[in-house]
C-alpha cells in the first residue's frame, strides 16, 4: 500500500498539478486544464510502468512520449482543436530539466567524465522525446486515415 502510494500515485499527482500550473502560464481555460494535466500524469505513469518492460531509461522516455502524443491526437480529434494545445503541456514533465542541472553541477565540480555522460543522457532523452512524438503522430495519422477509409 505504502509503496504503491509513494512510488506510483504521488509522482503522477505532482505531474498533474505542475501541468495545471503550466495551464495558467500558457493561457488554457476551462476543461482544457483538466485534459492537459491528465496528459502529463498519464505520460509519467507510462514512464513508470515501462520499467516492467525494460530498465532502459531511453526506451521508457520513448514509450511515454509516444503515449502522450497518441493521447493528445485523440483529444484533439474529439474536441476539434489543435493537437499542440495538449501536447506542449503534457510533454513538459518529461523534458530533461534535471539532466541540464546535473551536467552543469558536474561541470562546475570539474568532473569531466560525469559531465559528458550527463550531457549525452540529456541529449539522448530529448532525442527520445522527439522520436516518440514523431512515432505517435505518424501512428495516429495512419490509424485515422484507415478508419476514415473503412467508414466510407
Amino acid at each position: 500500500m505504502n509503496e504503491w502510494f509513494f512510488y506510483w500515485l504521488l509522482p503522477c499527482l505532482y505531474a498533474f498539478l505542475a501541468c495545471a500550473g503550466f495551464c495558467f502560464i500558457f493561457n488554457v481555460h476551462g476543461p482544457g486544464i483538466l485534459l492537459c494535466s491528465l496528459g502529463g500524469a498519464l505520460g509519467w505513469l507510462i514512464y513508470l510502468l515501462a520499467e516492467f518492460l525494460s530498465p532502459n531509461i531511453m526506451l521508457r522516455f520513448l514509450l511515454a512520449a509516444t503515449a502522450i502524443t497518441v493521447y493528445s491526437e485523440i483529444m484533439a480529434r474529439v474536441r476539434h482543436c489543435p493537437v499542440t494545445s495538449y501536447l506542449i503541456i503534457a510533454l513538459l514533465p518529461l523534458v530533461p530539466g534535471s539532466g541540464i542541472y546535473d551536467a552543469m553541477r558536474f561541470c562546475v565540480a570539474g568532473d569531466t567524465q560525469q559531465f559528458l555522460s550527463a550531457l549525452l543522457r540529456t541529449f539522448g532523452i530529448a532525442g527520445c522525446l522527439a522520436v516518440g512524438a514523431l512515432l505517435g503522430s505518424s501512428l495516429m495519422r495512419v490509424v485515422f486515415s484507415l478508419s476514415r477509409r473503412t467508414n466510407k
Partner: protein
Amino acid sequence: MDYNVLLNLGAELGCQLMESGAEIYRVEDSITRLMRAYGAENAQVFAIPNTLIVSVTPPDGHPITRLCRIPAHGIDLDHMELCNDLCRALCRETPTLEQAHDRLRQLLARRPRFSTAAILAGHGLVGAFFTPFFGGSLRDALFGGLCGLSIGLTTRFLNKLPGNNVFFRTLLSSALAAILALLFVRFGLAQHADAITIGSLMLLVPGVALTTAMREIVAGDIVSGMTHVTESILTATTIALGTGAALLAGQLL
C-alpha cells in the same frame, strides 16, 4: 469580390495564429484553405517563425502580396484554439468579407486572459510540484514554489525593460532561482537544493521549442524546425550558464 480585403483577412488571421504560437504548417494550411474557400485558388502562403507572406493573383492577373513581420511572442493556447475555430468556421460558412472581418475583430476584442496574480500563482504551482517530483520533501515544495514565483517575477520585470531578450531573461532568472535555492538550504529552511533548483528550472526549460521543432521537422518545415532546435539548444545552454554561475557562487558562500 475584393481581393485586397480577402488578402488582409488572411494575413491578419495568419498573424494572430503565428503570435499565439501555432506551428508553421498549421498557419500555412489554415490560411491557404481560407483563401481557397473564398475562391482564390492560386493563393500562396509562406511562413517562417518571424515572417508571414500571403500572395494572391486576382482574375485581372495583377498579383498582390502582403508581408507581415511577427514580433517575438509567447504562447497563448486559448487564443490559438479560438483563431483555429474561427478559420474553420469561415471556411465552412464563407460569410461576406465584412462579416468575416467583424468576427475577427470580435475575437480580438475579448481575449480571455488570466490575471497577473493567476499567472504568478501558476509559476508558483509549477515550482512547488516539480520540486517533490524530482525528489524533494514537502517542505522543499514550499520553497520550490517561492523559487518558481521568483522566476515569474523576474521574467515579468525584465520583460518591461527595453532591449531585453529571452536568453538574457532566462540567464538572470535561472541564476536567481538557483541562488535562492542554495540560500534556503544554507539557512536550514529547506533540505534539498538540487530538487528545488531543478523543480523551478522546469519553468524555463525549452520544452515548447523542442516540441514545436520536432512537429515542424516532421511536417517538412525544415527551416522553422532548425530555428526552433537552435532556440532550444541556446535556451538550455543559457539555463546551464545561469545555474552554473549560481553553483560557483554557492561554493564561495
